[in-house]
Amino acid sequence: MTKIHVTARINGDEVEFLCDPRETMLDVLRDRLGLIGAKEGCGTGDCGACSITLDGRLVCSCLMLGVEAEGREIGTVEGIAEGENLHPLQRKFIEHAALQCGFCTPGILVAAKNLLERNPDPSEEEVRYWLAGNLCRCTGYDKIIRAVLDAAAEMREAS
């Protein structure tokens, strides 16, 4: 099948790629662009491990086609830290042991960052409902929720 040429901006950098019209954005990120941070846990939009932002909106990259990235702005877990400085969410996830296996972590970080950009002072319930689309099987979510609330508090103090 003829491939399609796509130009997009990913984590601030302009990127060009060729992709099969059937390929998902997740496959493009991982297999064509070497951005392996987004994970495939289900391929059907149920687990959130492939979460990215598309023009600032949280989406499952497994439910998006690579060709749909044309002219769009994409954010992945690889773009969360600024150089050697981890984002407060990343630091708090390590500090609170909010990860055990770490497979769901990239998606949860992308989703949590997106939440805090919209709502810098979420309640526990708001964090739980925002992250309801990101499955974690290891932690029981307790330490994840605490890490997000703690990061939010620190970011509010800093701003």
Binding site: G41, G43, C47, V77, L89, Q100, P106, R137
Partner: protein, 766 residues
């Protein structure tokens, strides 16, 4: 340098008594944290190789069918397809044997069907192609003609006369005569005279319970990248809980010499027992051998559900007698577990764990391992124990309710202690069940008022824990830092625990130690990360390897000072002269010794290889508050507290994490999760939308209490903590539901429809 350095170290496992720890018990950041929050960590599907092909597997859509014809020629002819394999491409030397004796044959038959497809999702052929899309297209070109056979997926149905036979001759000699051929293994154990015990009781309750199969539900699907040459040498990258096991199985199934296949464990995206298995690795290697190129094979989520390890489902009868004062007089259980189309359902664990919490004069338990047309069951966190705890702890709760007794007091009255003859045979050394019950009774949660519509449930749980074959190697660098090589994949922060234990012994900072999960070519044999064995066994081996290095460090100091090594102590990371030589020389720090080690006798390393057998058994008590919506039948967990004995918590935060994770999985098992099979024997819910694991908005915070009753079989007192936490939740929630709504749910999951049915019966009875 004395040759003495290389004398083997004694493998003493005994607890060394209480001590002040400097590092153990602190909560440093995990060493792999940075990689895992930045997306750098490499999991099973994150590895790529030059010239790599992508593979896909064709699976049976039928629950039970004879494969009459299998034609792969059209798929092979598709452009971009480089290899197709079927059962003919695997070893002919793997021999069938009954029961679990022929486990390698069982694995081979499971990963690639022979004459019959035995369950919906059973692999029948595989393709490797230049792109994943071509591989998927090629599957559609494989022609399979099936003769559909009658099937059975329910454990009780599979035992009845006339049920379809999954495989003749699969039963081992333990099975009593006259049983259906689907009953393939049998277990019985206990002591005393249960009938005499029941005669002493004031109240005897006998009840029937069932639990459905649930999936481990790790978020990372199985994935691997294999390269195998015609020279019989290969490399394999895979997500697994045990890469030496993968190496051994792949070698057997492909007629390789074990050492010629080097296996590297990737970061692992959850396992919970479900990755103590082999499914796709030999398939990728067989494809690679045929195509002459590396092959990557990644399962889809539907494949994970249809063809990898759910836990066994269970049908159980429990009978318990109690006196008015709460004394249990006798207990009896019958446990029928189906483990799919192969022997191996962990019914002996179910039977042995069932009454392990209690000191019983009369106890008897019987187990049946039954085959059905379902995927081969796999271990799931304390395999076999949670279903037993569900049934037994439900009956104990019912007895407490009817006799008007407090559930914690009754459990304390009957609790197993040091010296108790366990229901499964041995006599317990020091154990911590009583301490968990006392801590639960003292916890504010137990006394907190409940709101209308809420109920509180209590349950205990037990797991054996395990040691197993273990090798650890520790190498010191010239600058005084240390590399620790372990062979147990890190499934929950174990590298942090190992670094803490090594730092404690060496007396150097935690940050100066790097712990690596070594590949099979870099270290001696290591058993799988299972049985809650990692912090216990790899931890013990790490302590011993570090002490081995310390012994050599002391020898170098002794040589330098010209004194006997016995006159050199190791204190806070320094060699210090002791006894008659005390104060004669300045302390010699580790880094000073390693700086010159090349000239003073060569590199300094420590090793430990052994099979530790002192894993301490583990107990927990859980308290849960649940709220039942009488209109919708939905149950909501509103408060949860886990109390568990950790022996000694090396990294308390990750111990808490294990407690919380097990509780959350237990909540899913109790309320939502189940394998649903249709009349056609096909799995109806092979996806996370319809197989619903708990999400963040389903759960409350999960409070934890770490009890520390030292394990007599570990120098620091460590007990495994990973598995026990999933044992109590099923019954604790059922008991909470019973106390909240007055209905006793005997079948899991307690989905809303079942609760509504029970509430309706309650109204009819009223």
């Amino acid at each position: 340098m004395a040759l003495d350095e290389y004398r083997p170290q004694e493998g003493d496992e005994a607890y060394e008594g209480p001590r002040e720890f400097r590092q153990v018990g602190t909560r440093p950041d995990r060493p792999d944290g940075f990689d895992k929050v930045t997306g750098r960590a490499r999991f099973g599907a994150d590895m790529y190789a030059p010239g790599m092909l992508h593979a896909a597997i064709l699976r049976s859509p039928h629950a039970h069918a004879r494969i009459v014809r299998l034609d792969t020629s059209k798929a092979e002819a598709l452009e971009g397809v480089k290899a197709v394999v079927t059962r003919a491409d695997f070893s002919k030397n793997v021999i069938f044997a009954p029961g679990t004796v022929g486990e390698f044959w069982n694995i081979l038959e499971n990963i690639m069907a022979g004459e019959k497809a035995l369950y919906d999702g059973h692999a029948v052929a595989a393709v490797a192609a230049t792109t994943p899309l071509i591989a998927r297209d090629a599957l559609k070109l494989i022609e399979v003609e099936y003769e559909i056979l009658p099937h059975v997926t329910d454990v009780d149905e599979a035992m009845k006369p006339g049920a379809p036979v999954i495989r003749e001759g699969a039963a081992d000699r333990s099975v009593p005569e006259g049983m259906h051929p689907n009953v393939v293994r049998y277990h019985e154990s206990g002591h005393g005279d249960v009938e005499a015990g029941f005669a002493e009781a004031d109240l005897v309750i006998e009840d029937h319970f069932t639990t459905e199969a649930t999936h481990q539900g790790y978020i990372e699907p199985h994935a691997c990248l294999g390269t195998l040459g015609a020279d019989g040498k290969g490399e394999l990258w895979c997500c697994t809980q045990g890469h030496w096991y993968v190496q051994k199985v792949c070698a057997a199934l492909l007629d390789l010499e074990t050492a010629n296949l080097r296996v590297t464990a990737s970061e692992i995206g959850g396992g919970f027992g479900g990755k103590t298995t082999v499914f796709i690795e030999p398939v990728a290697l067989a494809l690679s051998r045929k195509a002459g190129r590396p092959v990557k094979l990644v399962m889809s989520r539907a494949e994970v559900f249809r063809a990898t390890g759910p836990t066994a489902s269970a049908s159980m009868d429990i009978r318990i007698g109690m006196k008015k004062d709460g004394t249990i007089t006798a207990a009896q259980g019958t446990f029928r577990l189906q483990g799919g189309a192969f022997p191996g359902a962990p019914m002996e664990f179910t039977a042995m764990c069932a009454f392990a919490c209690y000191d019983l004069r009369h106890v008897r338990q019987v187990g049946y391992d039954v085959m059905t047309n379902r995927p081969k069951q796999a271990a799931y966190r304390a395999p076999g124990s949670p279903m037993a705890a569900f049934a037994v702890e439900s009956v104990i709760d019912e007895l407490c309710n009817r006799l008007g007794l407090d559930p914690i007091e009754v459990r304390l009255k009957n609790a197993a202690r040091e010296g108790t003859k366990a229901s499964y045979g041995p006599t317990y050394p020091r154990i911590g069940l009583v301490e968990t019950l006392e801590a639960a009774r003292a916890h504010p949660h137990y006394a907190a008022p409940l709101k209308p519509g809420q109920g509180r449930g209590i349950s205990c749980g037990f797991w054996f824990n395990y040691g197993g074959e273990t090798s650890v190697s520790l190498a010191l660098s010239e600058d005084g830092s240390a590399q620790v090589m372990v062979g147990t994949p890190d499934i929950g922060g174990s590298r942090a625990s190992m670094a803490l234990m090594a730092a404690e012994v060496l007396g150097i900072p935690y940050e100066n130690i790097r712990v690596t999960v070594a590949d099979t070519g870099s270290l001696g044999y290591n058993e799988i990360s299972h049985g809650s064995r990692v912090t216990y066994a790899s931890g013990l081996a790490t302590i011993k390897a570090a002490r081995d290095a310390v012994r050599k460090l002391r020898q170098r100091a002794a040589d330098k000072w010209g004194i006997d090594v016995e006159a050199v102590d190791w204190v806070d990371g320094c060699a210090v002269p002791s006894g008659p030589n005390a104060g004669d020389f300045d302390p010699l720090p580790l880094a000073e010794i390693t700086k010159t080690m090349g000239a003073t006798g060569g590199p300094i390393s420590g090793h430990f290889e052994a099979t530790p057998e002192g894993a301490g058994v583990s107990f927990a008590t859980h308290i849960v508050d649940a709220e039942v919506d009488r209109e919708t039948g939905k149950t909501r967990v509103v408060r949860y507290t886990v109390v568990q004995d950790a022996g000694k918590a090396i990294h308390p935060t990750y111990v808490e994490g294990q407690f919380q994770g097990g509780a959350a999985q237990g909540i899913g098992w109790a309320l939502n999760e189940e394998y649903i099979y249709g009349e056609d024997g096909r799995l109806q819910n092979p996806g996370f939308l319809d197989y619903r694991i708990p999400v963040a908005s389903d759960l409350p915070m999960i409070d934890t209490v770490i009890v520390e009753v030292p394990n007599p079989g570990h120098p620091f007192g460590v007990r495994g903590v990973g598995e026990t936490s999933i044992c109590p939740p099923l019954a604790a929630i059922a008991n909470a539901v019973s106390n909240a709504a007055g209905v006793r749910l005997r079948d899991l999951p307690m989905r809303p429809s079942r609760i509504l049915d029970e509430l309706e019966k309650q109204r009819d009875d009223a």
